[in-house]
Amino acid sequence: MLKQAIENLGNHTIQGVWRIGFASRFFLSMLLHSGTAFRRFGLTIREMYFTGVLSLIIILVSGLFVGMVLGLQGYETLQRYGSESALGTLVALSLVRELGPVLAGLLFASRAGSAITAEIGLMKATEQLSAMEMMAVDPIARVVAPRFWAGVISMPLLAALFSAMGVLGGYLVGVKLIGVDEGTFWSQMQGAVDFEQDILNGVIKSVVFGIAVTTIALFEGYDAPPTAEGVSGATTRTVVTSSLVVLALDFILTAFMFRGLN
């Protein structure tokens, strides 16, 4: 009984360490083979269509609604203290620093990450990857690396669009609907949001999330057992793991970036 438990623990540990090692080797070989992704940039552009352009609708709509809700709720609280002029600051800072990169990252993981895992997992299950190897085409260079770079390029753009739409949503609700003064809304926002400290840090965050989410998605797909069950399990794991990783990374990055401020 006890022996069984210890054996289980040992087995899990070995499996875990093995997976981490495999994932790091996968990540490294992906970086080493990314030459093709840039030399044949058409491949990367094709993937950017699937990961970036097709995620646009959900990113734009969610951004708009998150901004509108922020505007409503922020106003509700701020007007109790007679400082509804700070609404622009509240909406812009929370979007640019946290909500934009994090929510865009979560949406990206569930919209694009799951698709990447399912696609690669199925390619593996139907032995397309082995067929490529037989033809002396490196599947990492031909299939994996373009998807990685497409994700890394798309993610900051999506996060920026999310934040911009959010600010617009906050503006619509705050200024157009509730009637906060337009001048104070923008000027207070511009006074509080700094380009380097806030916007650039948000962009850095979104790049990091892009790297994390696409790497996890690609690895789960590449590592999936070549069965229908295996692929579906890998897709689920992609969404769960990358969401958790995005949240954890966000906490760490925030602690480094914004602790010294204010």
Binding site: I45, Y49, V96, L157, S163, A164, V193
Partner: protein, 155 residues
């Protein structure tokens, strides 16, 4: 999917993304973090800076003319040395005075500059000699109470 259609959409996506970044940089944030090429620094010593923080605005006549670049403690004078980074477009006389003020009752603190009458202008690394400290609420209340006690004292 047709390749040109695909290229077109990705191009549109990239343009929209960069447009959003520009919108954030120009409309939401302020690029006005005056960079060192078109600004000059002056130093002002205060005995008490209250809650002044780096990046706080420097205003003259209510207009933002620069930002607080750095706050250090001068261990020889036991005073706070505040470095102000001012926009090159605005030159101030040598006998300009600096005061730490609060916008509104509970608002953020900023440095207010009041121009003097000297014909010479402040240059890079100059010191502002006339300064006025931040008002500390506790001291004010203390003075007020002290004054009240004096009033009520039997003559």
């Amino acid at each position: 999917m047709n390749k040109t259609v695909l290229d077109f959409w990705v191009g549109l996506f990239v343009i929209a993304g960069i447009g959003a970044l520009l919108f954030l940089a120009l409309k939401v944030g302020s690029m006005s973090t005056v960079n060192s090429s078109d600004s000059y620094e002056v130093i002002a010593d205060f005995q008490n800076i209250g809650g002044l923080k780096p990046r706080a605005p420097v205003k003259s006549a209510g207009v933002v003319v620069g930002r607080v670049a750095d706050i250090r403690f001068d261990n020889e004078k036991y005073e706070a040395a505040v470095t102000l980074r001012l926009d090159k477009r605005y030159a101030f006389p040598k006998d300009t005075s600096a005061a730490i003020m609060t916008s509104g009752l509970l608002g953020e603190q900023y440095v207010g500059l009041e121009a003097g009458g000297d014909s010479q202008k402040l240059k890079d690394k100059d010191r502002i000699l006339i300064t006025q400290d931040a008002v500390v609420l506790e001291n004010l209340i203390g003075q007020f109470l002290y004054g009240k006690a004096q009033e009520g004292a039997p003559k």
